[in-house]
Amino acid sequence: MATGTDPMIAAQHIDFDAIVIGSGITGGWAAKELTEKGLRVLVLDRGKNIRHGTDYLGEHAPDWKAPFQDKPDRELFAREYPLQSKNYAFSEFNRQFWNNDRDNPYISNPEKPFEWFRADAVGGRSLLWGRQSYRWSEQDFKSNSDDGNGIPWPIGYTDLAPWYSHVEKFAGISGQAEGWPELPDSEFLPPMNSFALERTIKQRLAKKAPDLRMTIGRSAVLTRDHNGRSACHYCGPCHRGCSTGSYFSSQSATLPAARATGNLTLKSDAVVERLIYDEQSGKITAVQVIDANSGERHSYSARLFFLCASTVATTQLLLNSGSDKFPNGLANHSGALGQHLMDHLESTPVVGIFLDDMDRYYFGNRPNGSYIPRFRNLPGQDADSEFLRGYGFQANVLRANWKMAYNQKGFGADLKDALRKPGFWIWALTGFGECLPRPSNRIALDHSKLDRFGIPQVSIEFDWSDNEQAMWKDMNQQSARIMKAAGAVFYQGMGDTNTAIGGGAIHEMGTARMGNDPAQSVLNAHNQAHDVANLFVTDGSCMTSSSCVNPSLTYMALTARACDYASKQLAAGAI
């Protein structure tokens, strides 16, 4: 098999201590932690080079500047972005961050579809994420061993707690400390203010549904100046990019910190084709990279390799880096690589109409909702429920405006007046449920279909288990109960039939899972490949189960912890 000395590969021997593949949430953290420990780090990203601030082309642009005044460019989106444009955050204001679907195809089985939402820019999906940040609970790490699905986690809450603190103090998470065991508190910046309606609903729920808890969303958006980044100015659409760095992204926070050490080299437009494994040393020696613009191939060598390319892309890369020793994909003696793909079961929104607090309004656009943490199947309760694990509800307040009623009848001053004034309040619940790890949900390579770089495309199969189907029905019943208790005068339920498509929650994870048993897992308790000592994987693919809370904060903590371990091992000569 190829090694770093392949004469077909342009010789460009730049030695780094570590190479990090991907510059999203986890790649940014790996870059920061490793450079701050004195390692010389190369970060590679397949996307274009977005510069923080100056390339946020749609930031603060009003609708009247946008093509078609922000009616979507249907022809362009259908041709180039048929999948990405389905996402709520996609628009002409940030199109440069997103993956072009036509240029970058993958294979989804129509019977078992999976949606792969993808960024194509330095900073990755950290530019586009929803910023909700929750710690896992002790129970979350025990769920697999308790009910026998998947394999046990090799770590528990206490292993990760100091690393949660570590990343939270740097990133800045706003929220309210509550002391709830099912949703451990973070190191918080002050919480954001509430809507009057949220206070009204919270009081009603306390009386009529006292088993529920509700708290302001815990968000990686700053409520005061923090580590050289500015407090939120509440303009609204974070996902266009934020030049004041008020939400956490690799661009705003971790990459600048890495750059400040002088130890960072960052290459954009760098598509990693494969990792080069050396049988003699039993280690990765180099990565083979294709320049996305010129098509030229380069290889870069290093002592340590961190895969942070996102679940699907990391899995694709490992599968494509097979060798005589690893015929089924690099570091895949277990055969687990590519299996156990999970996403969260995201409900359709349950929309309630409220006529409370009609004489109250708001100032500013709060980029955050509130959260009803898991309340089903907590330890010692709901033994009779028809599903395992649990779900939480994210709740968002809206006040109807002209955009919700422009198809009404009428003409003239009365119509204009009706359209300019606020309508009723809306409170919308979206459920996010834990998905079980199952081998049949999987990522493979299709060697008969190559992408524009000649790399085999990934083929993804995903469907929901009976457990998630039963969970959906329970979400439906419970969301109706919550809407009634909250005082909705009308609500549109989510229906009894699961309509979620895998990948839709953009919380995909699990295809290179951690575990103590090398025969059943790809990574050990420190995100280190069982089979290859200098290979670490810290993006979502490392996850052994999925919890029901948003995963990014946990990925950050796992990454920082793995970097600490790896750098110590490197210093000790063990890698």
Binding site: P62, R74, D103, N396
Partner: protein
């Protein structure tokens, strides 16, 4: 330097920067700072004849008239409608639009003896109301049918209403002079008083 000045500087620095397009399908126009770009309606439309333009303007003005605040004409809505008809509507929608314009231009004078734009305002309103009554079975009017791109088979009168209302409430005039607009709120307060005549904020919260 305050934040707004900073943004203006950033806008000037970035405008006109060219970036390699190899391998990607970004338009050159996209690599300009949108906040610094010309308004969408700054371009010159060339889809309608002068007399057709007058008809479109009168209809838009009837839908969103000037009151104590500016209306569709001041907001440049007729120009928006013409640009959208030329560049955004698909073939089916454009066919409906063209037929609607032709109806207003030829059938109305035959029936009323005068061009539409010369009829008195009550007659003009009556014609539009009759068109709306005739269109009332269209799914365009369905409750909640607003979270979509467009209703492709919607009759001409519905097209005119949608493009007029959208064009108005996303225009600089509509947003800054009719709605409550603050591009840089600097804080969030979820419990402010709302008077009976107050306008709403232009953005949905996310």
């Amino acid at each position: 330097m305050n934040r707004r000045e900073l943004l203006q500087c950033a806008a000037i620095l970035v405008s006109g920067v060219s970036v390699s397009r190899l391998g990607f399908s970004l338009s050159d126009e996209q690599w300009t700072y949108l906040a610094n770009a010309p308004d969408y309606i700054a371009r010159t439309p060339a889809y309608l004849s002068p007399s057709q333009r007058e008809i479109i303007a009168v209809i838009a003005d009837i839908i969103i008239p000037e009151t104590d605040t500016p209306g569709a004409i001041a907001a440049g809505v007729p120009r928006y409608i013409e640009l959208m008809a030329a560049d955004w509507l698909n073939d089916q929608e454009r066919g409906i639009f063209d037929a609607g314009v032709a109806y207003m231009e030829t059938a109305i004078p035959e029936e009323y003896g005068l061009p539409f734009v010369q009829l008195n305002p009550p007659q003009q309103l009556q014609i539009l109301e009759a068109m709306e009554a005739q269109a009332s079975d269209s799914s365009w009017y369905e409750l909640g049918n607003v979270q979509r791109d467009f209703v492709s088979d919607a009759p001409f009168i519905c097209q005119m209403k949608e493009l007029t209302i959208w064009g108005f409430f996303t225009s600089e005039v509509g947003v800054t002079q009719v709605l409550q607009y603050d591009p840089m709120p600097m804080h969030f307060d979820g419990d402010t008083p709302l008077g009976p005549d107050d306008s709403s904020s232009p953005e949905f919260l996310i």
